[in-house]
Subunit: 318 residues, 2 copies
Amino acid sequence: MTLLLDINGADDSWSPVRWQARFQAELPHVRVARAGSETYTADEVRYAAVWKPTPGLLAQLPNLKAIFNLGAGVDAVLADATLPDVPLVRVVNADLTRRMTEYVTLHVLLHHRRLPMMLAAQREKRWDAKDQWAARAVRVGLMGLGELGRDAADVLLRLGFRVSGWSRNAKTLAGVTTYSGAAGLDAFLGATDILVVLVPLTPATRGMLNRNLFGKLARDGVLGAPVLINAGRGGLQVEADILACLDDGTLGAASLDVFEKEPLPATSALWLHPRVIVTPHNAADSDADEIARAVATQIQWHDRGEPLLHVVDRSLGY
Amino acid sequence: MTLLLDINGADDSWSPVRWQARFQAELPHVRVARAGSETYTADEVRYAAVWKPTPGLLAQLPNLKAIFNLGAGVDAVLADATLPDVPLVRVVNADLTRRMTEYVTLHVLLHHRRLPMMLAAQREKRWDAKDQWAARAVRVGLMGLGELGRDAADVLLRLGFRVSGWSRNAKTLAGVTTYSGAAGLDAFLGATDILVVLVPLTPATRGMLNRNLFGKLARDGVLGAPVLINAGRGGLQVEADILACLDDGTLGAASLDVFEKEPLPATSALWLHPRVIVTPHNAADSDADEIARAVATQIQWHDRGEPLLHVVDRSLGY
């Protein structure tokens, strides 16, 4: 039995060689092969663990039983039109969730507490002890109420923020005002001062963070103008609209971890915009050891006939 | 019966006139007078509400029953050698506690997630997707386990940090490794990557944040060098030592909300130090309306013969 790794476009700590060593340690009785670098027999491959897999490669494995994506977002896998019809599993683990909650908490607090203004004052040696509002005066809207959104909501509520959430299907969450579907979107946006985006990239969500949506955010909040925090996927956002809306006051500020094109090109005006915080798609850097362990555990379960967890619904795209 | 206000050195939202209006609204049957601006009869004053009170003023009130300080720290009141021997009450309220927890959470996350490094990379348009460690790899040490320290510990534990605490007297706190007294200080410091200071300023704590103490912090952590976050009082710290320790690597970075002299003088090298975040003593801006309500409630209780809450132990200084 072979586990085939096809891992592309990642940095050193995510090198295919390191992944191979991790998986081999977790699964000593399985042959762990890397696509392109070793000979392996296609019909011996039962499982594949991938990141941005080579289009067409997975279709050549006649006995493939399941594909494990090594991150939370499966948009790059689903982009392969020849993807075989076997279960596609995404990463859901406590470590990734905790890291995303750190990012969301940090950036919500940072805008709430006006840190960019404070840092600008510091550079000019200005002691501006401006009034600060309480967290209960700020409405945080979480777009996406999966594992990530729910965990972030819990911490934001603990800090005293007013939290609402939007999801495709109706969900209820203690302490959170929830909205759902296309019918609930405008009401959700109209009650949101800080919009936190944690939805998957699908044909339905591509480009949804545009001028039309930003124009529906609350304009009567203590922050003056609404704030966008996107830790989902760059394909969700229209960067030209973000820049134009920052400049005409439709948006007050933005924290962006993801971009239409990554790495963000040097020509992008987002880099030096005074009210944009750019981070290099590391909001929730996954712990590769934890992911390898979780995937290995699922492979062992599946071999014993137990069901896989976190299988993607291809009709929804996540 | 008169409530005398003696409020000095505060900004607009804390103006004596606004405080007078607030207290008058809460206590319609009490005469609310401002020191220095109205005639009042000294022997009619039963209560005083103060911020940085004029030395000697309170000693001239023969029938004074209690003094209410309008902030958490009473060091400025206790500095008056003629302070009459009546109960001195400090502010403890949920609003102030929540705001301090926001500040502590924001600044712990900010150093943990290397935001200063990220912002510097952004200014140079560098996409540096460096590895990020998990919160459980970072040891946050809370110096001070009163209301503020305990609330901050709760949120930091929820975020996954390893949390320890030090207090003068032994305390226990679920999930927190606690140390106490002079005997426990070195062990506490040796297990701390990010030191968060929330102790009161007393003769025993003045100047304790010095080179000797910084040199005892953990040096084997993932952050490289330890971080200081002081949201207590400026008198706790020796700023020349902070600067020297940042420059020789004893400290990695600092977030300072309080200073030896406030406003921080333009001549201070802290302003432009690349690894110092200066905020203008607004970590826990109190909601003046909430404080006025809490003080008015205590005055009403005391008039009915009920005990005062949050009375300062003058032998300890807090």
